[in-house]
Amino acid sequence: MENKTISVTVNGGSKASEVEPRRLLVHWIREALGLTGTHVGCDTSSCGACTVLLDGTPVKSCTMFAVQADGREVTTVEGLQQGGKLHPVQEGFKEEHGLQCGFCTPGMMLLGAALLEENPDPSEEDVRWAISGNLCRCTGYQNIVKSVQWAARKAASEQSGVNA
């Protein structure tokens, strides 16, 4: 099959390249763009280490072909921080010891960030449900939950700070 040219907005910048139609989105992100924060942990879309946001919605980028992202917006872990300032979720993971080996962390943080967009004050159950499509082998999840809730509080206090 012939290569296709795709154009994807990645972390706010336009990225165009020629790609084999069978190339998975995760491999395009990692190899063509050199954004290695998106990881591969399984071959069956089970672990979610490859999670990115596609037009703001979490997807497992090993489940999509790169060509399917043509014309759309992708956010990877490298795009979470804005202007050198960490996203509250990134801070939360540091504050609440939400990571150990760090391999699942980008996917977990992106799930957390997407959750907070929809639900700025999630309960423990809300967070557990939101991250239940991804696997972590180190933390036991409890501190990941706390990290996301820490971020929710941080975002809320920043918000009220802005309003005040």
């Binding site: 069956t44 990877t76 960490l86 760090g102 391999f103 972590c136 999840y141």
Partner: protein
């Protein structure tokens, strides 16, 4: 709050992790993130059969694919004497199969190509003709006369037995049993599991054709030991081999052994003259690399009517797969399984262990435990609960009656361990109080009257971690000391180089805190470097909860050495006698004149600019620490579950964990380790298992079939601590990374069995799936 935190000593403070900054930015540097110029990609063809003779391998179609650089077979490796390699337990394992395949998933051939997709395409075109052979999947059948001999490649191997090893004393144990009022027995299988770190294994081998320098980036928990093994296997000069373990995405024992992919990639790079990257896929990881557990255990506990334990008899058959590929201290064939007397003052014990070959993947790694202690802890804690039922005693009172008492430490167990310190009843009491144990028992009674099934399970575990004293512990003859090199630079900043290697345990923070505690250099000024064999001192790596007991101890010792030297330098710069100096926090001051002081930063500068004549310049040192003993962390876990009387499904109500790992260097990190371990204990009790059908097909070779817990199933944990320092560790710490994996499976299983105990149920093998629980209930009700 902030002020209090600031005034706390560095050891004992929940310092935020230094390593997190890069990880939360997606800036970790894992194996697959590394790309070298002209790098090629390797993929492995695996056997579809569990046991078969290889009739022929035709690689011509694969070689013809555009982008394929080489196809490597066992035959090619054999020409270089690389078709077989040693395992870390002194057995042999095929790198690529030559004569036969002996498990499903065995490495048969490798394709090296310019692109990983092309390498995988070409795998499909390799034509292998197999003649299937009879398959042995049951270790009990494997050791029967007439079973097909799996390792017929080994001249002296006339059956499928690997080892027979005993601990304790048969005679005194037989005597104890003859005097017993009550004997309880338990047959249980600790199922085959897989550590399944989220990052699979992999390497990049880069053999420079001009210099012969061999750099291998490798997902290894033990890079120094692997370098030595590589030198021995390949004949390459060891000083030309550099192994670098970059950031590792979890290990849990899975990344200790040497795997065929590492060897083939290195051979391929040597032959081709370009770097070769091998990244394992998940099926390869689950189907071929170090599995864990798979112990078939029989235990008998002899007691007096009043609950006094008299003796323990244990028989164990280990299913090792086709190679004995644990990473076991050579003296102990079944690892430290003989610590099976647990937390109890057991007057007699006899432990008989056997290992068997089967047509399964090689391994038997200690998955998040110190050499098979998880299996031992599970067996004794399950036996104790059943003994309590038999005697009509409260299970925690039976434990308490038999605990090794505080005044008995150091306590020599009948199987040869010398427990360093412990206050078992204290940890138990905290656990009972925090879990509301008595109220749970009362509630259990009430709910039973309504037909509801509440179960309460307890485990009071003791581990033996931190291998180890060189008199007893080695891997392939290499003694299990560990090392630390500390260099304090002129500006008072430091680099600490260690022989251990973090896979997420937080070494960059914890070990910097030890330096801070000893020398007052803040953790942010101490860079911790690990995993690069050219740039760190020799050590045996990170597994078996050994890093803090060995590498952590080495860190404290080397820091103290430098402090001694610093004192001499301070005496010189302050123009006083060293005897007149006192150390406090980060400085030496003159006794009686605290304003006359030299901080460690002042001293470091002087060490390079104004050191005393006759003294070597600099403030650097290295220590190889040989621990005098293991450390013995312990604790009590209480788990409450509710079992659905109709379906057998069970839900965790409560988990209370009391851990005593001695002095906690960073409580936040310690608790993180415990929560992770509890999750894996829950996973093993509830779902994790690798099974095989009768043809030896692996039924758990992906994350759809091999269940791992998500955030949804995983319970919430309540953690508490007691602190009984290790008397021999320089800062009183014990290992902790595995306590919860060791202790908690029995607590979960005990809880589910306890829910059904009044029906007469005494055992359900792990994982305690709802189906098995339902069957146990049906059977109990119909009998």
């Amino acid at each position: 709050m902030a002020v209090e935190e600031k005034e706390m000593p560095w050891v004992g403070r929940s310092v935020k992790r230094k390593e997190d900054d890069r990880f939360v930015r997606g800036g970790g540097n894992y194996l697959d993130d590394i790309r070298l110029a002209n790098m090629l990609h390797m993929a492995i063809l695996r056997s579809p059969f569990a046991h078969a003779r290889i009739e022929s391998i035709d690689t011509s179609a694969a070689e013809a694919v555009e982008g394929v650089v080489a196809v490597v077979t066992g035959e090619l490796l054999a020409e270089h004497k690389l078709a077989w390699m040693p395992t870390l337990s002194g057995d042999t394992q095929a790198v690529l199969a030559t004569d036969k395949v002996r498990f499903q998933g065995q490495e048969v051939a490798c394709v090296v190509a310019t692109d990983p997709y092309v390498a995988h395409d070409a795998l499909e075109l390799i034509d292998v003709e197999y003649e299937p052979l009879p398959v042995v999947v049951d270790p009990k059948k494997a050791v029967e006369d007439g079973a097909p001999i799996i390792r017929d490649d080994k001249e002296d191997q006339k059956d499928n037995r690997i080892y027979h090893w005993e601990a304790g004393d048969k005679e005194s144990t037989d005597r104890a049993f003859s005097e017993a009022d009550v004997v309880v027995e338990l047959d249980t299988h600790y199922p085959r599991s897989h550590p399944a770190p989220l990052e699979c294994c992999g390497c990049i081998a880069d053999v420079n054709p001009a210099t012969s320098k061999t750099m291998i980036y490798m997902t290894s928990q033990a890079p120094h030991a692997i370098r030595t093994v590589f030198a021995l296997v390949t004949g390459l000069p060891e000083q030309n081999i550099q192994i670098i373990s970059p950031d590792i995405g979890g290990g849990f024992g899975n990344k200790v052994p040497v795997y065929p992919g590492y060897v083939v990639a290195t051979a391929a790079s040597l032959l081709i003259g370009q770097p070769v990257k091998w990244i394992e896929d998940r099926t390869g990881n689950l189907a071929s690399t170090g599995f864990a557990r798979d112990f078939h255990m029989h235990g008998e506990l002899a007691l007096k009517q009043d609950g006094t334990m008299l003796g323990l008899r244990v028989g164990m058959l280990s299913d090792q797969g086709y190679a004995y590929a644990d990473a076991q201290p050579s003296k102990f064939k079944a690892g430290l399984f003989h610590v099976v007397t647990g937390s109890y003052d057991m007057p007699a014990a006899h432990v008989v262990t056997d290992g068997a070959y089967t047509n399964k993947a090689p391994g038997g790694v200690a998955y998040r435990c110190s050499f098979r202690i998880t299996e031992a802890s599970f067996l004794i804690e399950r036996l104790v609960q059943n003994a309590a039922y038999e005697l009509g005693m409260e299970p925690v009172e039976l434990r308490r009656r038999n605990f090794v008492r505080p005044e008995q430490f150091p306590y020599t167990s009948v199987t040869g361990f010398v427990y360093d310190s412990g206050e078992y009843a204290k940890a138990l009491d905290v656990a009972l109080e925090k879990s509301g144990y008595e109220q749970l028992r009362a509630e259990q009674e009430r709910l039973r009257a309504e037909g509801r099934l509440l179960g309460i399970g307890v485990a009071s575990f003791t581990e033996a971690v931190g291998a180890g004293p060189s008199r007893d512990y080695d891997i392939l003859g290499i003694k299990m000391f560990d090392s630390a090199e500390l260099r304090i630079h002129p500006t008072g900043k430091a680099i600490l180089k260690l022989g251990v290697k973090s896979q997420g345990q937080g070494h960059e923070t914890t070990f910097a805190q030890i330096v801070a505690g000893e020398l007052g250099i803040p953790p942010e000024d101490v860079t911790v470097q690990e995993g690069d064999t050219d740039n760190t001192p020799y050590g045996l790596g990170t597994y078996a909860s050994r890093s803090t007991p060995t590498g952590g101890a080495a860190t404290a010792v080397v820091a103290r050495k430098l402090r001694d030297k610093a004192k001499q330098i301070a005496a010189h710069t302050l123009e006083v006698s060293a005897d007149d100096l006192e150390w406090e926090g980060d400085r030496f001051y003159v006794k009686g004149a605290p304003e006359q002081a030299a901080t460690i930063q002042d001293i470091a500068f002087a060490a390079y600019t104004n050191h005393p004549q006759g003294m070597e310049a600099g403030l650097e040192g290295v220590t190889y620490y040989d621990p005098p003993n293991l450390t013995y962390p312990f604790g009590t876990y209480v788990v409450a579950v509710e079992v659905d009387a109709q379906t057998g499904e069970w839900k965790v109500r409560k988990v209370v964990a009391v851990d005593d790992c001695g002095v906690r260097i960073n409580p936040m990190i310690v608790e993180g380790q415990i929560m992770g371990g509890l999750t894996e204990g829950f996973a093993m009790s509830a779902m994790q298992q690798i099974t095989f059908d009768e043809d030896g097909n692996c039924m758990g070779s992906n994350f759809i079939d091999y269940l791992l817990p998500t955030a949804w199933e995983t319970p919430t944990f309540e953690l508490h601590a007691t602190v009984t320092p290790s008397p021999h560790h320089p800062i009183g710490a014990k290992g902790v990374g595995e306590s919860a994996t060791v202790g908690s499976p029995a607590a979960f299983a005990n809880a589910v069995v306890d829910a059904l105990a009044h029906l007469g149920v005494r055992n359900i093998d792990m994982p305690l799936t709802s189906g098995k629980v339902w069957e146990a209930m049906q059977q109990a009700r119909s009998s």
